[in-house]
Structures are given as structure tokens and as C-alpha cells.
Amino acid sequence: MTAIFVSVPVLAQQSKEAYELVEGMIDASKTLNYSGLVTYEKAGRLKTSKILHLNREDGTFQQLTHLDGPAGQFSWRRTSGDCGLDTTQDKKADLLSTLTSSGFERLKASYTLEIRGQSRVAGREATTLLLKPKDSFRLPYFVAIDNQSNLMLMSVILSLAGKPLERFQFVEIEVGGDLDSMTVGDAELNAEVSCDAGSKPQPLGDWTVGWVPPGFLLTDSEKEPIIGESILSFSDGLSAFTVFIESVRMSKKIPPFTFSQGATAAVSAKLKNEEDEFTVSVVGEIPADAAKKIAQSVSHTSKLLKLP
């Protein structure tokens, strides 16, 4: 009996620490400037890249340079905050927010957080944390958070059975210092993500996703006017998946398939609406069964109206 009385407050304390740790990690990624070398590993293959992340008043600049395989460098600048992700005051905040304060609440609703101990990553002392899903529709994460800066130094996505599926890890990281005053030229940019109207979620139009795992909310949607492709993105604050609904013309080219590699699953299924056949594809870091279930729940709004 004594053990119970002792362990309950201890667990509560530990869980509180875990939450604070994750909140600190989110803050760190928004405020700190860092660069470093990372490894990304899946299915027996290792990829190395160099990362640069700068937070500036006018937005966030990110750059990724591949150090092996085909040469490539990609740069992004995200202006005006986070394209609605931080605008919790926005009318659409309930749809848009991901891992912001409200998104963090959702993360807590879908995962249990558990501190697993101390570790050393990229030459730095770090606390390891397990984010365990509360259902079988999302995957567990095992992360290491830098004790000094609160940045995430390692992230491993596990299968539901606990096998590592992919691992992202810093081998060397530099935080602050010269990076705080570094300037970035526009010429280096591959993509600019701004918060214009175009990046706000569009009406879903003719399609509705009937089922998504609890806790997942729509974070972005777009419709390609020329080819009629609808794209809907969902997140539970940690994991994300994207739903693609292809036009009839496009669908003729796409076979139904299932694909999984590392932690990413892709499922493409055919959907019949009257005489037309559409293709629904779901891609995300979620279990394949969940992706299938989501794909099968997509329907045309006209069908909903016909229901009694």
C-alpha cells in the first residue's frame, strides 16, 4: 500500500517534467538558431545532411544540404510566423493549430509522455523521452532532448511493436553564437512559404474525409484548379498525414497500391462516385492500417446528402 501512495506522486511529478520538457523543446525550435550535421537512417540505409535553422524577425530560414548521394541543397523561408499555426487567436485556429499551445494539448490527449533516462547525443547530455500513443492509429516516438538548449537531438519513430523504423539524429550541433548574427541571401532560397490567402485552408469542396484517428485535425488544404486534385493535411501535433484525391483523368493513370518504407506508409485506393472513378491516396508517418481506414472513409459530399 505504501508503494502506491509513494508511486502516484512520483509518476505525476515525472509526467509533469516530461510535459515541460516537450514544451521547452517546442519553444527552443522557435527561438534558437542552430546548425549541425545529422544522420537519417531507415531500412538499413544511412543518409547524412547538414542543417541550418535560423529564426529571424521576418521569419524562419531553414536549409538542408545533402552530404552523400546526389548533391542537393534545399532552403525555405517561412515568413509571418507559422502560416496560421501560431495564430491561436485566428477564427480558424481550431483547424490550424498543430504543436502550439492548443496543439500541445492535443498531443497530450493522444500520447502519454514518459521520461526514460539520460543519454548522450552529439556530445551533449540529453534526456530521453518516450511518446507512447494511446491508440493503434499512430506510432510511438523516442526522442532525446538536449539538457542545455532543449533542442531535439534525436528522434526515432518506432513500430507499434517497438521496433525502430527510422532515426533522425544530430552527430554535431552548434547553437547560437555566430549563427545569431548570420545573414541569409534570398538567392539561396528554393521555396518561400508565406501566409498569404493561398496557404490558408480552402473549402474541402466535393470531398469529405469521414474518419481520421481521434486527435488529428486538418492543418492545411488546397485544391489544384487545373487538374482537380484535392490535398488535405492532418496532424495530431506530432504525426502527420496527407490525403490526396485525384481527378478522374489522373486516376486512370494510378494503380491502387500500398507502400511502406521506414515509418512512412502510403495507401492508394479507388473510389467510385456514380460513373466516375477517383483515386484516394493517404501518405503519412502512421500505421498502414490507419492509412487504409482513412482512405476508405473518403466520400463525395453528394453521397452524404443522399443519406437519410
Partner: protein
């Protein structure tokens, strides 16, 4: 008659007899490619004569109408259908630039979900290596990646029994589409801030999708 013309005549004759080598065929085609040249016209006449003689010998009817010009024109006027719709998608919107430039070819590994339960602390170990992933490593870049499978049970649902059509899909389109959706997803996922740049790390360089055409 020049030495070349002589060779050309021999090549044409060999082609007629079905005994032409690659060199013969190429020589004839090259000469015919210059449509209005005298050589080409001579060759066409000669070919027609050879065919007529052959027909007579076999006891077939001799056809005196030359369809070749009309056929050439018809082919030239035919609309080109072989345009990958993905290329259109990718070029149609500036916002898709990321997807276009970093088309993903994640060519490795198969994830398995029915694995025996083991401790999550294994996370410190290597990411799971599947036995079949080696095929992905050595396979040509233009084949579908390991982990890809046509799904039978999902093929057509809510379909009425009378209209089941078996479409024939090209592997090239399937591959391009898979690369497209993976890249597009990877470019969207970074909005989830907790993962920082992790989704970007999932992207792999591939000049453009059009290179695979």
C-alpha cells in the same frame, strides 16, 4: 553510281530479303530520312519495284497506291498523349516547387507491422533492417521501390458489379506518382513544429521528376 549508292542498294536489297544487318537498316533509314533528296526518292521507287516483283512472284495483287505520304502526315498530325500528368501537376503551381525539385525516390526497405513485441529501449539501436531491402539497394533507380505493392482488396470499392474494369497501369506512372505524393507529403509535414526539420530529411535528391520520363 557511287560506292555509297551501291552499298545503299545492297542494303535495301538485304532489307527486302529480311537479311539486313543493323548497319544496313540504319543506312537505309538514314537515306530515307532526307525525304526530298534524290537518293530517298530513288530508294522509295526501288523499294516499291522490289515489293511489286515480290508480290507477282507470290501471286499476290499488286497495289499501285502509295499510302506512305498520307500515313506520314497522319502520324505527324496525331495528338501526343504520352505526357505524364504529374509533370503537368508539378509545373502548374509555384507552390509545388518544392515537390518538383526534390522528388523523392526513397528506394529502400519494407516496413513490417506484425513484429514481435520488444522493448522500446531498442530505439538506441539501428533502424530496422528488412531482409528484402538489399534488393532495393541494388535495383535500378527506375524501378518501383521495395515496399510497394499493388493492392487487390482495395482496387475498386462501392463499385457496381457490372462495371468492373481492369485498367492497365504503367509502372512509370505509378513510380512517378508515388514519388510525387511522398515528396508532397514531406514538404507539408514540417508544419508540425516538434519535428523540426525531420520531414525535410526524408526528402531525397532527384533532379526533377521529368528526368524519369
Amino acid at each position: 553510281m557511287s560506292q555509297y549508292d551501291e552499298y545503299l542498294g545492297e542494303s535495301l536489297s538485304a532489307l527486302m530479303d529480311g537479311e539486313a544487318s543493323d548497319l544496313d537498316t540504319r543506312r537505309v533509314l538514314k537515306a530515307l530520312a532526307l525525304e526530298d533528296s534524290q537518293n530517298a526518292m530513288l530508294m522509295r521507287d526501288k523499294w516499291r519495284r522490289y515489293q511489286s516483283v515480290s508480290s507477282v512472284m507470290k501471286g499476290d495483287v499488286i497495289c499501285k497506291v502509295d499510302y506512305s505520304v498520307d500515313i506520314t502526315r497522319a502520324i505527324a498530325e496525331e495528338a501526343i498523349f504520352k505526357v505524364n500528368p504529374l509533370v503537368k501537376i508539378l509545373s502548374s503551381s509555384g507552390r509545388l516547387a518544392i515537390a518538383a525539385s526534390v522528388a523523392l525516390v526513397a528506394v529502400l526497405g519494407v516496413q513490417q507491422f506484425n513484429l514481435p513485441a520488444e522493448s522500446t529501449d531498442q530505439a538506441a539501436g539501428f533502424a530496422y533492417i528488412d531482409e528484402t531491402s538489399v534488393e532495393g539497394l541494388v535495383g535500378p533507380a527506375n524501378q518501383l521501390p521495395a515496399g510497394w505493392a499493388m493492392s487487390e482488396e482495395l482496387q475498386v470499392r462501392t463499385v457496381s458489379a457490372d462495371s468492373v474494369e481492369k485498367d492497365i497501369y504503367s509502372e512509370e506512372d505509378a513510380r512517378a506518382y508515388l514519388a510525387y505524393v511522398l515528396a508532397k507529403h514531406a514538404s507539408k509535414a514540417p508544419y508540425v513544429r516538434s519535428q523540426g526539420m525531420l520531414p525535410y530529411a526524408r526528402m531525397e535528391t532527384r533532379t526533377t521528376i521529368t528526368d524519369q520520363e
